[in-house]
Symmetry: D2
Subunit: 207 residues, 4 copies
């Protein structure tokens, strides 16, 4: 990324450019492109995530990020005979609701299995599976797209599950690329303003 950054403004060969870059100058250059918003050089690095234990509600939001690549466990081809179900915290804190929720998931699973036994294909039996059903995804995105993803999904207005996922992803990429991701997050943290207007969470005052 740093070499790509320097190439744009240099008459040197790429080998010479790469040799002249050390950790410190790389950090300085990455810091500068982040500040100026010249983010295209960040596209040269990409990151692949193995994601499990998320709901289909969450994955439906995840795959809406179009500058990224996804391979998802298929409900058409994989028989979900022992499906896990994700429980939202707001339900978890209501014991009666939890009991009803779990009972319902048992009924759904039983009906799914019954449909398979009746000879219905998995791709049709899945119509009874809920948004809570667990799914697995392998996702790849470049650093620029990932910063955009983190900006949107770490906002307090993002849905709790994808926000939690985004937090875990940020922890991972910060370890391997701290220069790029140390300040990643919603615009209130990174740029000092909130675009959400009347829907703002109020973390920062707006003008």
């Amino acid at each position: 990324m740093a070499a790509a950054c320097r190439l744009c403004y240099s008459a040197s060969d790429i080998d010479a450019i790469r040799e002249a870059i050390d950790d410190q100058s790389a950090a300085r250059m990455i810091g500068k492109v982040l500040k100026l918003g010249h983010l295209s050089v960040l596209e040269h690095a990409s990151f692949t995530f193995a994601i499990e234990g998320i709901s289909r509600a969450c994955s439906h939001q995840l795959v809406r990020h179009r500058i990224a690549s996804f391979s998802q466990q298929s409900q058409r081809y994989v028989k979900m005979s022992e499906c896990e179900f994700m429980l939202p915290p707001s339900i978890q804190e209501r014991p009666e609701a939890v009991e009803r929720f779990n009972g319902l998931m048992d009924d759904l699973q039983a009906e799914y299995n019954a449909l398979l036994e009746d000879g219905v294909a998995a791709e049709d039996a899945r119509y009874v599976l809920p948004n809570a059903a667990e799914t697995k995804v392998i996702m790849t995105a470049n650093a620029r797209s990932l910063l955009n993803f983190l900006e949107l999904r770490l906002c307090t207005r993002a849905q709790w599950e994808i926000r939690e996922l985004a937090g875990l992803m940020l922890d991972k990429v910060r370890e391997v690329a701290p220069n790029v991701f140390k300040n990643a997050g919603p615009t209130c943290d990174t740029k000092g303003y909130c675009p959400e207007g009347e829907m703002s969470c109020g973390r920062i005052s707006n003008q």
Copy 2:
């Protein structure tokens, strides 16, 4: 599209190019780019669809087409208190299964409503909603991307619901842009071969 096609190979001004094109020459040029696979000129026309009465199972496949734009009814913000549920034909033809399916949908809807009454937000109550739940989408795609969509989703191996949707979409675009879409469809129809290998439906033999 025809003007864009001619521009690449002409020394004329664009106005002169446009004036020289009539319906017949446009049809001939579009036919030629389709045959040669020089599809980029088809990107200059785009089509917008109002899609209703599809399941979330179907929309999850739909939004995976990344060279397209989607606005979808949000289960986070819209209360699905009177949700419609899509019934797969393979279940429909099994009367007992239909009865169980409908009963289950009633239970799901009741639980969804109960969660809302308990004070759970719609974005969390929706975890109990099934893939069968109806959704609405406004989708825009250019002609090139649309041809690719139709090629993949009109294949007999595509899932029945998105295949049905693709068929309806093709009917609509054929009306307004017959030159582009008259031969759209799976590769067995358009190119005389099947890429699906051992998973082929066998419509055409695949030496």
Copy 3:
């Protein structure tokens, strides 16, 4: 665009949504998505431009916008035997430089023609053609991508020729879609800040 905007938050059918929208409510909704940065609904409208009288220096920048479609007059296939050449204002204001520039363009054109006469193909003869050589492009982009293009290319730090082009394009789209484009432009005008840091032109102070 307004219907797509409303669909996300409404339980109504799309027909009912469209009927309920009038010019005033559409303007209000578009204004709101622009303010909140919820720009995806703007992807449903796209705009096609016939662009002539720009240099290859300009088109090389233009085609770097990847969320857009381009059909360009080909120097491989079109014989540029009577090429126009774009003269930068900074050269135009130096009479001696203009004379030398014009002489050089005559030499280039003569050599190009000589190479063709020698039997060299147009695709190789063009190696002597300069960045100043005129080109023609048909370009299509959706409103969201176009706003991004205008933000970047109407900045005073953009190169003069593409900035001039962006200004002409903005005039055109403002006529047909004033709600979307009335406030389009660089961030200093639209958002009150400049991301260019030490390279800022100073139009607005950058605390």
Copy 4:
């Protein structure tokens, strides 16, 4: 890539999937997705190239591949006071043309330098630089996009310079990812047909 491939069809955890894959099964799976055209899993691997010694004629074609990332030496910011010029083979084999070509390049370089001395900015002086001018690019693309690039640009109908570049890139990626790239190339080699119709080079007969 192999893990992503298997995930779609498996009920296992991703760790278990990865452990179960060895070199042989990975090769088999990659071979299968290539044959079936299920190429999305190939997007999880990306490749970055340092490209030098190509002309601006070549780079103008290169950057038209939109599913890729480019950082290019800028003629706006870098002073090309000692520019290299690429000589097409068809000119090289005509000694008189070479002499004229070289003379012209000397004149162009002299005028470029004179403009800089006159106080004209590099971004305007470059209008006299020819398509032959050397440029440098750092390019990143994922394996799927790269296969598409190689298919188009290794065709005998592609322009000689980008075809040469594509050949060198293929050599490099074949070394590190032979399973993916061992059969990369134009459709005549990989799929046994030519889409170019009447413009076909005739390498294979096109009944």
